[in-house]
Amino acid sequence: MSSLSSPPHPKERRIIFENISLPGYTPDIDCYLAHGGYESLRKAVTMQPTEIVDAVKAANLRGRGGAGFPCGTKWSFIKYDDGKPHYIVVNGDESEPGTFKDRYILHQDPHQLIEGLAISAFATNTHLAYIYIRCEFPHAAKIVWNAIQEAHAKGFLGKNILGTGFDLDIFVHQGAGAYICGEETSLLESLEGKRPYPRIKPPYFPAVLGLYMKPTIVNNVETLCHVKHILRLGAAEYAKMGTPGDGGTRTMCVSGDVVRTGIFEMPCGAVTMRELIFDLCGGLKPGRSLKAVIPGGSSAKVMRADEVYKIKVKGPDGAMIDKDLPMLDVVLDASTLQSVGTMIGSAGLMVLDDSRDMVWVLNNLNQFYAHESCGQCTPCREGSLWMSKMTTRMLAGGGRPEDPKNLKNIADNIAGRTICAFGEACSWPTQSFLAKFPEEFDKAAG
């Protein structure tokens, strides 16, 4: 674990990874308590549940799982006193290629997650929660389950938590190797023991009909950890670290062709692409130059290093004016990345240097999506496979002149026509690679 064991870069601010980066920090409850553990939960139980939800809203916390939905707003869809059972399901499926942050929390600081989860349960009148962990993290499942028992023994979970009369049970549920289970409605089907086909929307939110058709919150592991820090620092202080629409810190995972890959935690919007790649990650490998970055997990639209985006900003007189924004000057927060046509997603950045063949890169991703489509919707099931077969054939020297057009056509006919957002996730790479690197696809098409 390279980047976390070295001292933070001046641009970094470790909150989520504060404990984990301490030398000798262990995942047991005594170590957690010695580092201020469960103080936020103690505070939470003295607050009104609505106060907690309002604090999370005021903190501008966005979900860290990929969709970036405002967390407090999601919680406010749960009606505290509707007389129905409520559930919270933690998404620890972490399987979006390029993303590797939750694994550290689950393995090394499980109580941080349990504390955040207990606070969210208290705020939403929830008495049963599940932590869904991908089965490729077998040690994490044991560590988290052990942490749950420790928290029970100390009165932070179970019956009558901290003498408040509030009850909460948490169990661990392991996945079985399917990427689609990260999609929240697939995850719920998986947890119900069914074939994990994503559910048809509407309802758009599990808060309406979730686990066992009851109001349910699904949050990412990291998202719930942030809740602890919102209570600790206060919503205003927490929000102030980030940008107006994107509060707090964000953990960013960098992989690919940089000198120092790894995980970095920064206030939202604190760094540009240039600073992340050249300062924090030490730049490209010797003799190499930057070609492209996939900024938010494998499905985020690719950014080309020499692109200059046209964005609208507020001018001195308040009117909106056009501005040129070179790719390396893009600030890495949710709204800036959205304004340049891609997304922060799960903040898994994959860096590609000038040695990379973009047809090869796209083919790798196409094979991933073809393998992971659940098969429910014809456009996704067939289209993801066609795209994968076509790029495989192009790489093998069998390209045909009509391939780029056909690839685009297939992708355009998946996105927006499927049950779940996997349809977009598998189309965006093809659409953006073709749009940004047409010369390479034309060449491979022969």
């Binding site: 390279s2 059972p85 972490e94 290629p97 390029g98 993290f137 079985a176 494998s298």
Partner: protein, 175 residues
């Protein structure tokens, strides 16, 4: 796939049932939720899930066998026949592929004596396995450790930053 003559369910150890009941108790709202945990338990105990396993789990949860079989054939993790004693899962996805995981996987296959280019289609079939039943090697998708690519999951343990030249020594330790 030849039908195993022995039914796994004929050999259930006493502690198994207790552990299964404990897992079922984690799902107070719906027993059906315990189907994945019971499949994991079964595969850990017996190495794979045969028809008797599908039937036993279904009966335990008041389901029909197809409710369990459709999970075994959906999830890449489960298999209907034995895999190797040691299962080596090399990450195939982008960051690992860029760092050389295809070559790493080939080295693993060669070191244990498997065809590096054998195809594996999933749907409940076991990964390619050596004749002596010691090793299976397969590609899996992103293991969420892209920053230390290329990686492999060897049984329960993640091995990071694997260089092709390291593979023979890793395999020697497993033998």
């Amino acid at each position: 796939m030849s039908e195993p003559t022995k039914r796994q369910a004929d050999d259930i150890p006493p502690a198994f049932e207790t552990e299964a009941d404990e897992l079922v108790s984690h799902y107070p709202v719906s027993k059906r939720s315990a189907s994945l945990p019971l499949l994991h338990l079964w595969q850990r105990e017996f190495g794979f899930v045969d028809d008797s396993g599908v039937e036993w789990i279904a009966a335990k949860l008041d389901l029909t066998p197809i409710n369990i079989l459709e999970l075994v054939t959906f999830y890449p993790w489960f298999r209907r026949a034995a895999a190797g004693k040691v299962v080596i899962r090399v990450c195939r996805t982008l960051a690992c592929a860029m760092a050389g995981s295809h070559e790493v996987k080939e080295r693993f296959c060669e070191s244990v004596g498997l065809d590096p280019h054998a195809e594996h289609h999933g749907f409940g079939t076991p990964p390619p396995t050596t004749a002596d039943g010691k090793f299976s090697v397969e590609f899996v998708e992103c293991l969420a450790s892209c920053g230390s690519a290329p990686v492999a999951l060897i049984d329960d343990d993640l091995v990071e930053n694997i260089q092709p030249a390291d593979v023979a020594a890793i395999v020697a330790k497993l033998k």
